[in-house]
């Protein structure tokens, strides 16, 4: 016996109500405002400041920080807000290629938000950093990427006290953090242990000393020099114990050799897992016999036949060929260069950071992938 639904006293009233639904919606739609449909919304405008995307920026000053490090300050075309410790890509045409690299931001978040000023501090070390060091001058126009990366304090996850361990040019995100704590855009306690070879290699020492106070302290550790007022040797468990508060999380930024050493020191202090975070380093060349491979690259409806070198990543091969392709972290993790493998053999540098389904359906991150044969890939446009 089928159930017959009825709500009104007279069942036909339920039917009438149903019949009125379309006329009611027609009426409601016709009564909407005739004012222009908004082009944007408050949340979307804020999102534009948090994620301004790729933008052009004028280099306004270049300052030497040490013998081989310079600070490059840009005037942004779009102000942005970021988390202290994040990086941006800085890009420019070099020869016939567009080249970009990720660099930690050294200036403070509020400088970028309120004044549209953004600085990176770069050590002359590789191809693009060397080019910058020799060529970049005020007035030059660069391409600056979205603030990116996850090397920043999280109040839910981390202990309120952070011990920062910096090596060499790995100081830059911590300079940003110290400035952010001072201006109030970040709120945590930072004890910075900064290792360098000699006092002359310390960047930002005067400013770091000046910023020292309740929420920020700095300790210098020199490996090649013994000086009063400085710790000497490497950043050891003893030094960490001497300066660290009772309970803390660790953030590290520096070369791989420093990570390898510090990991052991921290393990002896019972620290690892969620309490230790490291910023990733760019993938470099690999040490194999040089060999040339044919690389076929599809970008939208264009096809490019270029050459790849077994020692270099697919991303480098594409940049050398002058292709404008996506590139951000250059460490395999951010997924910005996510590309489809059509054919060929390859090796991934370091740990495979791809999504599970990317492995299943044959997607790769060219920034951390070396060719082991001729290859064919489809890459999104980097324009």
């Amino acid at each position: 016996m089928a159930y017959k639904f009825k709500r009104q006293v007279f069942g036909f009233m339920d039917l009438l109500r149903f019949k009125k639904m379309v006329p009611l919606r027609e009426k409601k739609l016709s009564e909407g405002s005739a004012a222009p449909i908004p082009k944007t919304y408050r949340v979307n405008q804020t999102a534009e400041i948090l994620h301004p995307g790729t933008q052009s920026a004028e280099l306004v000053s270049v300052e030497s920080v040490t013998a081989d490090m310079k600070t490059y300050t840009f005037k942004l075309s779009k102000n942005m807000m970021f988390r202290a410790g994040q990086y941006v890509t800085v890009g420019h045409a070099v020869g016939g290629s567009f080249v970009s690299r990720p660099y930690a931001i050294s200036s403070s978040p509020y400088a970028a938000l309120h004044e549209g000023k953004l600085s990176v501090t770069v050590k002359k070390a590789g191809f693009f950093s060397g080019w910058l060091y020799e060529n970049a001058k005020p007035g030059d126009i660069f391409v600056i990427g979205d603030p990116s990366g996850f090397f920043f304090y999280d109040g839910v996850r981390d202990r309120k006290n952070i011990v920062g361990i910096a090596g060499g040019s790995g100081i830059t995100p911590f300079v940003c953090m110290a400035r952010a704590i001072a201006e109030g855009s970040e709120d945590f306690d930072l004890t910075l242990i900064y290792g360098a070879r000699t006092q002359a290699d310390l960047a930002f020492k005067d400013e770091l000393d000046r910023l020292s106070g309740d929420k920020f302290r700095v300790v210098y550790v020199l490996s090649d020099e013994k000086k009063p007022g400085f710790e000497s040797g490497f950043v050891s468990a003893d030094i960490i114990k001497k300066y660290a508060p009772a309970s803390y999380s660790v953030m590290m930024c520096g070369p791989q050799a420093m990570y390898d050493f510090a990991d052991k020191q921290l393990a002896s202090l019972g620290l690892g897992g969620k309490y230790v975070r490291k910023e990733a380093n760019c993938i470099g060349d690999r040490d194999v016999k040089p060999q040339k491979y044919a690389l076929t690259v599809h970008i939208r409806d264009e096809v490019f036949n270029i050459t790849a070198n077994s020692r270099e990543t697919l991303l480098v091969a594409m940049e050398r060929a002058g292709l404008r392709v996506p590139s951000k972290c250059r460490a395999g993790g951010c997924g910005y260069c996510h590309s489809r493998l059509i054919s060929g053999k390859y090796t991934i540098a370091g740990g495979d950071k791809r999504r599970l389904a990317d492995v299943k359906f044959g997607y790769i991150h060219p920034c951390c992938t070396y060719p082991d044969s001729d290859m064919e890939i489809e890459v999104p446009s980097g324009e």
Binding site: R7, D14, S33, A34, I37, R42, M81, V156, L356, A357
Partner: protein
């Protein structure tokens, strides 16, 4: 070769399905997506040793092989079912309203569900049976409506789908009241309301019941490799069928001709793609507000009349202990302040009063989704106003942290499990995040709200009328099937097939 039969704008769930349907209908198709990944919300991301699901809680109406639902049938006919590995969701849901002493764990399976409800609320059985009976009849009526593209024969409707017509204009609460369902049983059965984002005084009963009975009778499934697996499977299918997909490619303008209809799409950077058919997998607000010139007043009014539904917030946690160690018992939870959905809806209008949540521990469906000895959770809520519009960039990180803490506190208090000290990775998505990745106004994730006058029934009946611009049809959460994974997939199915028809008519 800058000419296509159809351009699909946006590779979200609706756009992906529409592209496959167009290709199956013989069209030459270009799918453009401004992001570098497909899926829209249907994606995943890595942090440390965890891969998080970006949005999917459970896929409704898919069901296991042998008890397949409409989504499985759709995926079968798209040719993507076997490209994805599926895991079943163990229980329907656990709803907790601590302040009212309500804590119910509801199973899948119609009989099991009714029995469990009766055990919690003696005397609820008859009303629950009628709820399911109405649900089945409404499903049949919806299938008929879909088969006629919304243009139905009213005598057939009244004769063969009487209960659909008789319940069709009422809210969830109105019908449950008429069914004389005891209040506590209504509180339990209404728990899914947040999946549709309108409270039960507004939400159409027929819409709600058709969702609930699909969940309960078919069970829910999830893709093993997160929803990214579905999205990449669809991309593979599109390529197998000869379609082109261009990522990092934003469509900026839809070009119209003298008749006001579609003539092409201009991509960011200025390239013109000629086409007479566009499927827009984005909101009419964006299309008519920004992408088209000379929009007729009729369309401007109709667009402005719509109400934005919930703006999204999701916190993702990678925990360094297993679900067993942490005492997380279930796969998905609904945690509310009150079982009165209209009151709860009001609380969800403000950042300071909203910690209502739909929370998932994925390991309870798929134990190996994270490394041994760890677990993976996500906590979702909706904001029923533009309150995040008040948050200034300098307060953004603090606000995120505040809400994250509210959500964690709420979960610990309501369920008794302790997770705070085990957080190894955390990521928080806010309305700004959704605005950034998907471009939705105000960071909405639920399209236009299912208000009493703009619910599923009138939208389906008005599909033909809502098609206002020659060559332009919509797919996704803002369109005729409303929001949610299965709805978005079906919108792509409907729109894709309709566009194939449009193309054929032109000859």
């Amino acid at each position: 070769m800058d000419r296509y039969d159809a351009v699909v704008i946006g590779a979200g769930n609706g756009g992906l399905v529409a592209a496959i349907r167009l290709l199956q209908g013989g069209a030459k198709v270009l799918l453009v997506e401004k992001h570098n990944l497909p899926g829209g919300f249907a994606t995943s991301f890595r942090r440390g040793r965890f891969e998080f699901e970006a949005s999917l809680h459970e896929l409704n109406d898919f069901g296991p092989a042998g008890n397949g639902g409409d989504v499985r049938d759709l995926f079968d006919s798209l040719g993507v079912t076997d490209k994805v590995e599926w895991v079943p969701i163990p229980d329907a849901y656990r709803v907790i309203v601590r302040s009212e002493g309500l804590d119910a764990l509801m199973p899948f399976g119609k009989q099991a569900f009714i029995d469990k409800l009766e055990s919690y609320v003696p005397g609820s059985r008859l009303s629950a049976e009628r709820f399911f009976e109405l649900g089945e009849q409404i499903r049949a009526a919806q299938a008929y409506t879909n088969s006629r593209n919304g243009i139905v024969d009213s005598s057939v409707m009244v004769k063969e789908h009487g209960n659909y017509v008789r319940t069709g204009s009422y809210s969830v609460n109105e019908v449950l009241e008429s069914l004389k369902m005891p209040q506590k049983a209504r509180d339990i059965i209404n728990a899914y309301w947040c999946y549709l984002g309108a409270h039960c005084d507004e939400l159409s009963f027929t819409h709600y019941v058709s969702m609930v009975i699909r969940y309960i009778t078919r069970g829910a499934m999830a893709p093993k490799m997160r929803s990214h697996e579905i999205s990449l499977a669809m991309c593979e299918r599109i390529r197998e069928l000869g379609g082109d997909i261009w990522f990092n490619t934003e469509a900026e303008k839809i070009v119209t001709g003298a008749d006001g209809g579609v003539e092409g799409v201009i991509l960011k950077g200025g390239r013109l793609i000629k086409t007479r058919h566009v499927v827009a997998n984005c909101s009419p607000h964006v299309v008519y507000g920004r992408m088209m010139d000379g929009v007729p007043e009729r369309i401007v009014r109709a667009t402005n009349a719509r109400k934005f539904a919930g703006r999204g917030f999701c916190m993702f946690l990678g925990l360094n202990k297993s679900a067993d160690e942490l005492g997380i018992e279930n796969h998905n939870y609904f945690l509310y302040d009150t079982s009165n959905s209209a009151k709860q809806y009001e609380l969800m209008k403000s950042i300071d009063t909203n910690s209502a949540q739909a929370t998932v521990c994925l390991n309870r469906a798929h134990p190996d989704c994270s490394p041994k000895g760890t677990s993976l959770m996500y906590f979702t809520t909706l904001y029923m106003s533009d309150c995040w519009g008040d948050v200034k960039p300098e307060d953004y990180a603090r606000t995120k942290e505040k809400v994250a803490n509210m959500m964690i506190d709420r979960f610990e208090r309501d369920t008794g499990s302790k997770i705070r000290d085990s957080i190894e990775e955390i990521s928080v998505a806010t309305p700004m995040t959704y605005a950034h990745y998907c471009g939705h106004p105000e960071g909405g994730i639920y399209g236009y709200e299912s208000q009493y006058w703009d619910g599923l029934n009138p939208r389906l009946q008005m599909m033909a009328e809502d098609h206002q611009t020659r060559g332009l049809r919509f797919a996704g959460g803002y369109s005729m099937r409303l929001s949610g994974y299965s709805s978005a997939y079906f919108s792509g199915d409907i729109t894709g097939r309709q566009t194939v028809g449009d193309i054929k008519k032109e000859g």
